[in-house]
C-alpha cells in the first residue's frame, strides 16, 4: 500500500510537468507576452514603452527558456519558464494582474467553496441513491419507465436554467432567501441554502439514471439470485447485497471529484455572488487574468491526481478483492 502510494506520487510528477508544459505553450508560446500586453492595454494605448512597462511589472520581460545575458544557473532560472511555470511546483502562484497575491486569495476563497460544494456533493449522492434505489425496486414497471423519462427530461435542462429559474422563483418572487451574497460564520447559511438545493436538483437527472444503471447491472448478477434463493426479502436483497456491491462503482466514481470540491462550483458561485474559487476563476477568465488561470489549472491537476490516488485507496476499503500493490 505504502509503496503503491509512493509510486503514484512519483507518477504524478511527469503528469504535472506535462500540464505545465501545456499551459506554458498556451500562454507564452502561442501568444508572446507582447501579444498579451497589447491586448490588455487596448489598441489606443499601445506604445513600445507601455508594452515593456506592462511586461516588466508582471515579470514577463525575461526570455522564455534561456537567458543569454545571465550568468551560471541564472541562465535557466531567470526565465519566464522557470519563474512562471516551474515555481508552480512549489505552489508559488505569484501575483494577479491587479497585484494581489494569488496564493493568499486561494486560501481565503477556499472555505466558501467548500461550504457550498461539500453539502451539494454529499446530499446529492444521498438523494440520487435514494431515487435510483426506488427506481430499481420498481424496475420494469411504469414507475421505473416514467422515472427514467423524467430523469432524461431533468438532464436535458441546462444548469443555467436551474440556477436562473431557482434564483428567480425562490429569491425574487417568494423572497425566501437573499438572491446573492455571502456572509461569514453561521450567517452564511441563508446564502448557501438556495445554491445547494439548486446544485442538488440540477444533478438529480443524470445521477439517478447513472446509479440506476449500476443497480440494475448488479441486480442481474448471480449472487443476487443466490440471495433470493435464501429467502431474503426484496428490500433486504437490495440493501444488503445490491447496494453494498453497487457502492464500489458509485464511491469510486465519486471519490475522484472530492479534491476538486476545493475549486467549488463555477456557475453556482458566480450566480450567487459567493466569493469562492469558482467565481474567482470565472472573474479571472472574464478579466483575462492569465496568472490566475494558470494557477488554477495547476491546482486543478494536482487535486485531480490526488483524487485518483484516493479513488484507488477507496477501492481497497469497499472491495475486499482489491489489494494495492
Amino acid at each position: 500500500m505504502f509503496a503503491y502510494i509512493v509510486r503514484r506520487v512519483l507518477y504524478a510528477i511527469p503528469i504535472l510537468i506535462g500540464v505545465n508544459l501545456l499551459t506554458f505553450t498556451l500562454f507564452f508560446v502561442v501568444n508572446s507576452p507582447d501579444d498579451m500586453a497589447r491586448m490588455h492595454l487596448g489598441v489606443k494605448r499601445v506604445t513600445p514603452e507601455a508594452i515593456e512597462k506592462w511586461k516588466a511589472e508582471r515579470g514577463y520581460d525575461k526570455p522564455l527558456l534561456y537567458n543569454e545575458r545571465a550568468e551560471g544557473l541564472q541562465r535557466f532560472t531567470a526565465t519566464i519558464f522557470f519563474e512562471k511555470s516551474v515555481s508552480l511546483f512549489a505552489f508559488r502562484f505569484g501575483r494577479a494582474d491587479d497585484g494581489r497575491d494569488i496564493a493568499w486569495d486561494i486560501r481565503q476563497r477556499m472555505w466558501p467553496s467548500l461550504a457550498i460544494a461539500i453539502p451539494t456533493f454529499l446530499l446529492g449522492i444521498l438523494v440520487n441513491i435514494t431515487f435510483a434505489m426506488l427506481l430499481a425496486f420498481f424496475r420494469a414497471t411504469y414507475i421505473d419507465v416514467w422515472g427514467v423519462v423524467l430523469c432524461v427530461i431533468l438532464m436535458s435542462i441546462s444548469t443555467l436554467f436551474y440556477i436562473i429559474g431557482g434564483q428567480y422563483m425562490v429569491g425574487k418572487l417568494l423572497h425566501l432567501v437573499p438572491i446573492s451574497g455571502y456572509d461569514s460564520g453561521t450567517n452564511a447559511f441563508k446564502f448557501l441554502v438556495l445554491p445547494i438545493v439548486i446544485g442538488i436538483i440540477s444533478g438529480i437527472g443524470a445521477g439517478t439514471r447513472w446509479y440506476r444503471t449500476i443497480f440494475l447491472e448488479e441486480i442481474n448478477k448471480d449472487y443476487v439470485r443466490t440471495a433470493r434463493a435464501k429467502g431474503l426479502s426484496e428490500l433486504r436483497v437490495l440493501f444488503r447485497h445490491v447496494l453494498k456491491n453497487a457502492m464500489i462503482p458509485i464511491l469510486t466514481g465519486a471519490v475522484v471529484i472530492i479534491p476538486l470540491l476545493f475549486m467549488g462550483s463555477l456557475l453556482l458561485e458566480s450566480f450567487f455572488g459567493i466569493p469562492g474559487l469558482g467565481s474567482y476563476t470565472i472573474d479571472a477568465i472574464q478579466a483575462q487574468d492569465f496568472a490566475i488561470v494558470r494557477a488554477m489549472v495547476f491546482l486543478g491537476s494536482v487535486l485531480y491526481i490526488v483524487g485518483l490516488v484516493l479513488t484507488d485507496i477507496s477501492y481497497t476499503l469497499v472491495d475486499p478483492r482489491v489489494r494495492l500493490e
Binding site: 509503496a3 509512493v6 509510486r7 512519483l10 420494469a140 442481474n220 448478477k221 448471480d222 449472487y223 439470485r225 443466490t226 440471495a227 433470493r228 434463493a229 435464501k230 429467502g231 431474503l232 426479502s233 444488503r240 447485497h241 453494498k244 456491491n245 464500489i248 469497499v318 472491495d319 475486499p320 478483492r321 500493490e325
Partner: protein, 674 residues
Amino acid sequence: MSGDDILLRVRDLRVQFGQGPQAVRAVDGVDFAIRRGETFALLGESGCGKSMSALALLQLVPRPAGRITSGEVWFDGQDLLALSEQQMRQVRGHRISMIFQEPMTSLNPVMTVGEQIGEVLEQHLGLPRRARRDRTIELLTDVGIPAPARRIDDYPHQLSGGMKQRVMIAMALAGEPDLLIADEPTTALDVTIQAQVLELLAKIQRDTGMAILLITHDLGIVAETVDHVAVMYAGQIVEAASRRELFASPLHPYTRKLFAAVPDRRKRGRKLETISGNVPPLNRRFTGCRFAERCDEAWLRCREQAPAWTERETDGETHGVRCLRYQPGIEAPRVVSRPGSETGSGETKPASASTLLTVRDLKVHFPIRKGLFKRVVGHVYAVDGVDLQIADGRTLALVGESGCGKTTAGKAILRLIAPTAGEVIYDGQDLARLPADELRRLRARLQIIFQDPFASMNPRMMVGNIVEEGMRAQGIGRTAEERRQRVAQLLEQVGLPPEAARRYPHEFSGGQRQRICIARALAVEPRLIVCDEPTSALDVSVQAQTLNLLKDLQDRFGLGYLFITHNISVVAYLAHDVAVMYLGRIVEQGPVDAILDDPRHPYTRALLSAVPSLDENGREIIRLEGELPSPINPPPGCHFHPRCPDAMPVCAERYPDPVTLPDGRVVKCHLVGD
C-alpha cells in the same frame, strides 16, 4: 409412484419468456415427482429447460422477462405456486435450498462467508448472533472446509472454486431443508474436485435424509449418484425411470442416442453415434414430436401427432416415455438399425510414423512485479519444462486440470504466447527462436482450434471471409475466384453448404461454428493442429459430430493433433498418445492404452478414478486432498506430494527424474523405477 413418501410433485409446469407469437416456452408441460431422501436427476443438454424448471419451483424465474404460465408444485402438502411472495420466502432456503453452477459468481463478493451463511440462520431459524457464528462454523466443518473458525471471516475471493461450492452447500444446508436443488453443481469444477463435491453431497444426504434434485448434463454423474432420472428435451420430459432401468434399457430414441454419443475407449476406431441437426428453437409451435426431425426412427406420424406420456411397469418400477413408438395402439414401423461405421484407418498407426514436432524443455514463466519500481519478485511457473513429441497423423492428448498450464503450453508452441525457454522444433527449425517474418511463413503449417466457438470468430465478418483470412495472409490461392472455390470446398469437407460462406457466425449453432473454425484452420493446409478443448463447450451429441469430423480429417490428410483436454473419455476415444500435466510439468506420458489401463503416476491414477463412468461396475475413487497448488510457489520436491496418497519423505525433497518404462512411457515419480 404413489404414497406418502412423495416430497415434491410437479404437474404440468410451464415457463414462458416474452409475449406473443415470439414467446419462448422454455418449460412446456413438465411433470415429475421426488420421494423423500432420494436423488432425482433432471438430465438434458443445454437449453432444454432443466434449469428453468428448477428455478420455477422456487419462483425464481427471472422476471419480468419470464413467468410461470401454469402448473402445480405440490411440496409437502402445499402448492408452492399458489403461495404469496411472503409465504414463498419461508420456503426458499428453509424448506428448499438451491446451489448453482458458478460458485465463482454465486457468492456475494463483498460479504464474508460467515455473513452470507449467517443470513440464512437469521432469516429462517432466528438464531442470535453468537449462536449464528457457532452454527456457521459447524456447517463449514460439515462441508469439509479446513480451519473453519478462520475461514468464516474470509471473503469469497480468498477461497478456491471447490471451496466456494462447499460454502454454497453449507449455505444451502443452513436452513435445514427437505429438498436441495443442485443446478449443475460441479460443471465449473475439475474432475478431482467434482468427485469431492459429489461425495460430500452423498454424505450429507445420508446424514440428513434430505432429497436432492440434481440438474445435470453429465451422463457419468447420473450413472453414479442418482436414484431416479428424468430426461428433458426441448422443454419437455421425454423419458423418466429409475437409474438402473434407464441405463439398462433406455427407450426414447433421444436417450439412446445420447448414450451412444458419449465417447469412450470401446468406441475407438468407430464413428460415434451423432444426432443430426440442432435442438429446435422453443419459440415455435410444435405439432408432432419435438425430436422427430432429428430422429432416425421417426416416421410420418411422428411429425403430425404429439406423443403422449406412456408408462410401463417393469419389475415393479415405472418407466415413462414420450414417444409414439411405445404408445399403446400405435403400430410403429420397424427400424433398420445401422451399425456404427468403421473409420477408414486401422486402430493404431505404426509407431515409426515420422516425428512432426518436437518440444524440448518448454518454459513459460510470467513475471510478477511488485513494489515501488515494479521489480520482478517472482514468477508464475505456468509451463515449467515440457517435453513432447507429436508424430505425423497421430493425436497426442495433453491432459490436465484447469490451471495446470496445458493451454499455455499449446499457445506457446505456436508462439501465440512468447515462450521463456525451450525449443519447439518443426522441420528442423526452432519456432521459439525464429525471426518474425520467417515464423509468419511457417504459421500455415501449425494451426489452432479454440475452445469457445462463440469467441473464436469475428462476429462482423462473413464466414467466407473468416475461412479465407488465413489463405490471404499466407498467399494461398491466387485469385479471389480460386479462393472462393477453395472456401466452398472446405465448407463441404466440414459438412456445411457452400451458401454458408455468405452468412455471419451468429447464424450458426455452437457445433456448426466449431466446424467453421476447423475449416478455417484447414484452409492453409496445416500439418499439425493444436486443438484447445475444442469440444468442452459443446453438448454431448454435438461433441460427437466434432470428434467424428476431426478423426475423419486426420485419416484423410494425415494431420497431427495436439489435443488439449480435461475430458478423459474424449482422450480414450481419440488419442494415440497421452501426456498428463500437473502444475506446469508432464508427470506421465505414453501410449494411450498403457496409461489408461495401468496408470503408474499416482496423479494419473487419481485423475482417472475421479472420472464418473457409465459402467455400473463400481470403481474406487482415489480421493485427492486439497486442490491444485499455486503455480507461483510450487511445492518443493515433487509438485504432487502434498496431495499424493503414496508420498514418501523423498518426494518432498527432490523432483523425480523421468523414468522410461519398457512399454515406451515416461513417468516422473519416485515410486516408479527408483
